[in-house]
């Protein structure tokens, strides 16, 4: 096989030997550049940039060993093979040649066939080396490009994520800063009613695809939570978005929480994440995943059953991604759920649990393991005013919004069983940015009036049933049943707003198709302190400037005054 002609540098102080070598190489089809000693060799190398070098060892002015070192330095990253010309045969001398940078030897008398073979072999090596460097540079460039793209994705994601309330005092967490590229996502947001949603997600895959999935998830989470939608509505929407927009085989394991601080209730949805641990007054409950991850099922197949609990102050729930349970020791053992349980059993004070779990897992993994893939969050039940966050973080809007307006919204028949209009109505009211600081109270008024109209007015349920603990559960089960079967009836909202000095007045009128009730008699009876129900109307009287019933009691108007903060 003929190859391309090369430029070969020879350095040989013996004139005869040099000429013989020149002729052999020339006959092989290559160009020759000759030097008489080491120094001339380095100068010629600089000028001519040969592909291969044949170097005599013993030369005046600069011998082959020194020259070889210089030449290798000058070649830098490139591979310029150096073949030593030597009659030395002892191992020590040959070793010295290799140490100096020599790649091979050629002994006298020079055999053209041997020389040809060596030149071919080293040329192949030289070309391979060049290809390697080139590919390395291409990879390096692509890698840098990818890092820059990831930085953009991370910045966009961080901007979306900062809408939340992860800094609330009842949340503790650790998450690697690059977690989004491991597919881990932690979101927390306040609801206009004053409660909180928290979501820990783990997307399939790594890198940009995982981060890309996180963005619509975050937008839906913050958008809907901020508008007062329920946790299950948010999950349903996220599931549908991921299912529709992401490629098949792409999904997000998630654990989501809905905390109600005023009623001290917790609702938990677990889909594909390792079991969460709920600590209540010293008792541990393990909540395993009972749903498929988000983005797998079609909308109609998506299930929303949740765990529901009543908590006391200080009770807390722990969510983690599989990095914790599947952390491996240097011998390959799994940390596992058993060890986690042990930590909970052995730790006395609940506030120490978070750090204890973290420390034990890190110790278990040993020095060599990366601990930045661990994601864990602890959420504690505490009074709302202890959270340490401003309720109005959502607005930041510079406009005043509409000042004098009214609208009527009526839902009837089956829609009553399928749709909760309160988030939509609240959303319209919150089109006035200065009112957003009061969204919790307004939400409470709307919800209480709507619940009364729906449950007592349309469905005909009686509060008397809620007096006992057992009756409480039966009441809500009966409510579910009647709601599923409803076909007629209606509820109408009429909302009006007019400006007032320093703020405005919201008039909320709710009318239902029910028979009403004897509100005169109700006003006369004293509120019962310990009863489970009857909290609605006195609560409304505390928030509203005026609360008035009309007609047979199926129409009520609440007047809510607000002042610009």
């Amino acid at each position: 096989m003929e190859q391309e002609p090369l430029k070969i540098l020879i350095a040989e102080d013996n004139d005869t030997d040099r000429m013989i070598l020149q002729r052999i190489i020339f006959r092989l089809g290559h160009t020759v550049v000759s030097a008489r000693d080491g120094l001339e060799a380095t100068e010629l190398y600089e000028r001519e940039k040969p592909q291969i070098v044949l170097l005599d060892v013993l030369m005046p002015r600069m011998d082959g060993l020194v020259a070889a070192r210089r030449l290798k330095e000058m070649a830098g990253e490139d591979l310029v093979p150096i073949i030593f010309l030597t009659s030395l045969s002892d191992a020590e001398s040959l070793a010295k040649c290799l140490d100096a940078g020599g790649d091979d030897f050629l002994s006298k008398p020079y055999n053209p066939v041997v020389l040809k073979a060596k030149i071919q072999a080293f040329n192949r090596m030289r070309l391979m080396h060049r290809t390697l460097l080139h590919q390395r540079d291409q990879i390096s460039l692509h890698h840098e490009h990818m890092l820059r793209e990831q930085q953009v994705a991370k910045t966009v994601f961080d901007n979306i994520a900062h809408l939340g309330c992860l800094q609330a005092r009842n949340i503790r967490y650790f998450l690697s800063p690059m977690a989004v590229f491991n597919g881990d996502v932690l979101l927390a947001a306040l609801k206009p009613s004053g409660g909180m949603h928290v979501l820990l997600g783990d997307f399939t895959g790594h890198g940009l695809p995982a981060a890309i999935g996180a963005m619509p998830l975050a937008e839906i989470f913050y958008g809907m939570t901020g508008k007062g939608f329920s946790m299950t509505d948010v999950l349903r929407e996220i599931n549908q978005k991921l299912k529709k927009n992401l490629p098949p085989g792409f999904f997000c394991c998630a654990a989501m929480l809905d905390l109600n601080f005023s009623r001290r209730e917790l609702e938990v949805w677990m889909g594909g994440m390792p079991a969460s641990f709920l600590w209540r007054g010293g008792e541990l409950s393990v909540l395993p995943s009972n749903h498929l991850p988000l983005g797998v099922l079609e909308a109609k197949a998506f299930k929303t059953n949740t765990y529901k609990f009543e908590l006391s102050e200080g009770d807390r729930i722990f969510l983690w991604s599989d990095g914790i349970v599947e952390a491996r020791s240097p011998d390959g053992e799994l940390f596992g759920e058993e060890r986690l349980r042990q930590v909970f059993e052995e730790t006395n004070h609940p506030s120490l649990l978070f750090d204890e779990v973290h420390q034990r897992v890190i110790r278990f993994m040993g020095e060599s393991e990366r601990s930045d893939d661990l994601s864990m969050v602890e959420v504690t039940m505490m009074p709302e005013d202890a959270l340490g966050i401003e309720a109005d973080q959502i607005s930041g809007s510079a406009i005043k919004g509409p000042e004098s307006w009214e609208f009527t919204y009526k839902i009837e028949g089956k829609t009553l069983g399928e749709f909760n209009p309160v988030p939509l109505i609240l959303h319209n009211i919150l089109e006035m940015p200065p009112v957003r600081a009061y969204s919790g109270q307004i939400y409470t008024v709307l919800t209480e009036l709507y619940s009364n109209a729906l449950e007592h007015g349309v469905l005909g349920l009686s509060s008397a049933q809620k007096q006992t603990p057992g009756g409480f559960l039966e009441y809500y089960q009966e409510r579910e049943r009647r709601l599923k079967e409803i076909t007629c009836g209606w509820i109408q909202f009429r909302i009006r707003h007019r400006p007032e000095a320093g703020g405005g007045v919201l008039l909320i009128r709710v009318e239902d198709s029910g028979p009403g009730f004897d509100y005169h008699a109700f006003a006369r009876s004293a509120p019962v302190e310990d009863s489970y129900s009857g909290r609605g109307i006195p609560l409304l009287c505390g928030i509203c400037r005026r609360l008035e019933y009309f007609g047979c009691g199926n129409m009520v108007e609440a007047e809510f005054a607000w002042i610009k903060a």
Partner: protein
């Protein structure tokens, strides 16, 4: 990791056996295994007797197969899982989508 396939004698069941780790590097081979089989296949058996490990991208590949095989109408059985594999399938609630033996 290696993937081998076998058709039943009547040509209606395709058994895919996965040896070693079932992870993102298995992607192309796994897809080729079921995409290149002919259209007479009505049922799929995933033999995990020699599968040592499953990660989330493997779960994704199973979902791709399910999609290919008819979605809700797909007949797919996953068999002989070791405890590690079983645990991952359980946490993700995949028995809601696949028959697991």
């Amino acid at each position: 990791m290696s993937i081998s396939t076998q058709k039943s004698s009547d040509g209606s069941v395709l058994t895919i056996k996965i040896q070693g780790r079932f992870d993102f590097s298995s992607h192309q081979e796994f897809r080729d295994a079921y995409e290149s089989a002919d259209s007479s296949i009505m049922e799929y058996q995933i033999d995990m007797s020699e599968t040592t490990y499953l990660d989330s991208s493997a779960l994704g590949m199973l979902l791709l197969l399910r999609d290919f095989a008819g979605g809700d109408n797909a007949q797919i059985t996953i068999s002989n899982c070791n405890s590690d594999v079983r645990r991952i399938l359980t946490i993700s609630n995949f028995e809601q989508l696949f028959r697991i033996q």
